[in-house]
Symmetry: C2
Subunit: 275 residues, 2 copies
């Protein structure tokens, strides 16, 4: 599996991916799932991918040279000349469809579904930053203020912390920290997601970034975050009062008198009927 997450706040974009792929538990490898396309001062784009590795690698290769020819356009559309992230994402959709045309029938004949999902985001010229999730058919959706992040792959373990922390106003470094915590929860609970991580942080309006890094098990910040989060979560857990059962001296009883006649069915003899 894979876990990738991207966050869009007013301050910028954060992209984070793990690097584990597996074909069965006995065939585990490391492949990078992130790539950055940048023409400094003109455009910055980052692509994260999950799903079938042969498909996502092909899409990345094709995307570089994909030309989307459309009626009424003088010049074919590419990711390098697109005037908006929407158009660049349409080129990505076209690249996915090109790989589909090449490979889907042969995959299907072997019982393999054409399965790829991608997150693509960035900024072009004076347009605002945009963030998209692209599906196997090449269609896509865009992140909004209400839903300012996308996840692909093994997404559930790391979702609660994103839901609680990320808003459009989250500062950029805080968004990066949150993505790393989300990744840490996923690493802790799912073996199919593994180090090293790739992370890119993009500041709104900069049209380039040098905050591109590979985080392995020796990274001091990620080490600190992993152990702090575990310890503090434990402390926080301990700081919440345990449930009180018998109407003891507490303002927050778990078992309130009215609830004692539980609706829950309790069968007390073999002869008692369930319904």
């Amino acid at each position: 599996m894979t876990y990738c997450v991207a966050v869009k706040t007013r301050a910028g974009l954060v992209f984070l991916s793990d690097s584990r792929t597996n074909a069965g538990l006995d065939q585990i490898s490391t492949f990078r799932k992130m790539i950055v396309y940048e023409k400094a001062g003109d455009r910055f784009m980052a692509l994260l991918s999950a799903g079938n590795l042969s498909i996502s690698q092909s899409v990345r290769e094709v995307l570089q040279i994909e030309k989307l020819v459309e009626p009424g356009q003088d010049e074919p559309l590419t990711i390098w000349n697109a005037k908006s992230m929407f158009d660049a994402t349409r080129v990505l959709g076209a690249a996915v469809r090109r790989v589909y045309e090449r490979d889907a029938a042969a995959l299907r004949a072997s019982g393999v579904e054409f399965n790829v999902s991608m997150i693509f985001g960035g900024q072009i010229g004076s347009e605002g930053m945009r963030l998209f999730q692209v599906y196997s058919p090449g269609n896509f959706i865009e992140a909004t203020d209400e839903t300012p992040y996308f996840q692909i792959g093994e997404s559930k373990y790391g979702k609660p912390v994103l839901d609680r922390v990320i808003t459009p106003n989250t500062p950029l470094d805080e968004a990066a920290k949150c993505a790393l915590v989300s990744m840490d929860s996923t690493l802790k609970s799912n073996l199919s997601v593994g180090l090293p991580l790739d992370m890119v942080v993009y500041k709104a309006g900069s049209l380039q970034t040098d905050r591109i890094m590979c985080i392995d098990e020796h990274n001091p910040y990620f080490q600190m975050l992993r152990s702090s989060w575990g310890d503090k979560l434990r402390q926080m857990f301990d700081s919440i009062e345990d449930p009180m059962w018998n109407g003891g001296a507490t303002d927050v009883p778990l078992m309130v008198p009215a609830a004692r006649n539980a609706l829950l069915k309790k069968i007390t003899t073999p002869d008692e009927k369930l319904i």
Copy 2:
């Protein structure tokens, strides 16, 4: 969907279930997923179920009267005369298989898979407490010290906190609190899991319990836990240092000098080749 979790520690057992069922997003209902079988002083058992509701309701009904006839036994085995939780769980497996024989072919003809999963645990006589997870074919596995909890249904959101907190030595009230936090994370991230909750807490050796309760949105403890957890998680998140990018004054840099030459591929012009 459903989320159910059961924890076994040396001090006792905790069972917790939500009550939402859905057949598509436009057909949401409340059904209880927990039932307790108790003969005070002799045996205590609790059953949680997920999957197809018609199957799990049928299994619960059948379990009440299931008699497992085996060669060399004088008397058919039931959950009320079983001498061990292992045997009681075999009766549950037999009940699942009986429902399979009745319903699976007709379900398959309608394109519906025979899908049910259950958690069954408790204590009989002088035997230690035991906790089992039962699958659609009626086979089952048992919780151990290394894996002292089981989850069924929408399990991933609530797994990280269990992994970090639960051990065989966790006190019973703390295990109950942890199950509630796990449920809260799931409720927060997945609409298909909903209140009210059913919770049962069983103290080792007691062979009965009165800690059976239904927790709705007005429950003071659960209200406190939900808001405290959210607030404290936020405080804890804030208390961890943000990443430092440029070798600033920190002991834990995120971007260490060696990592700046990132392995991550950055494509900077249309002509640059990807590989």
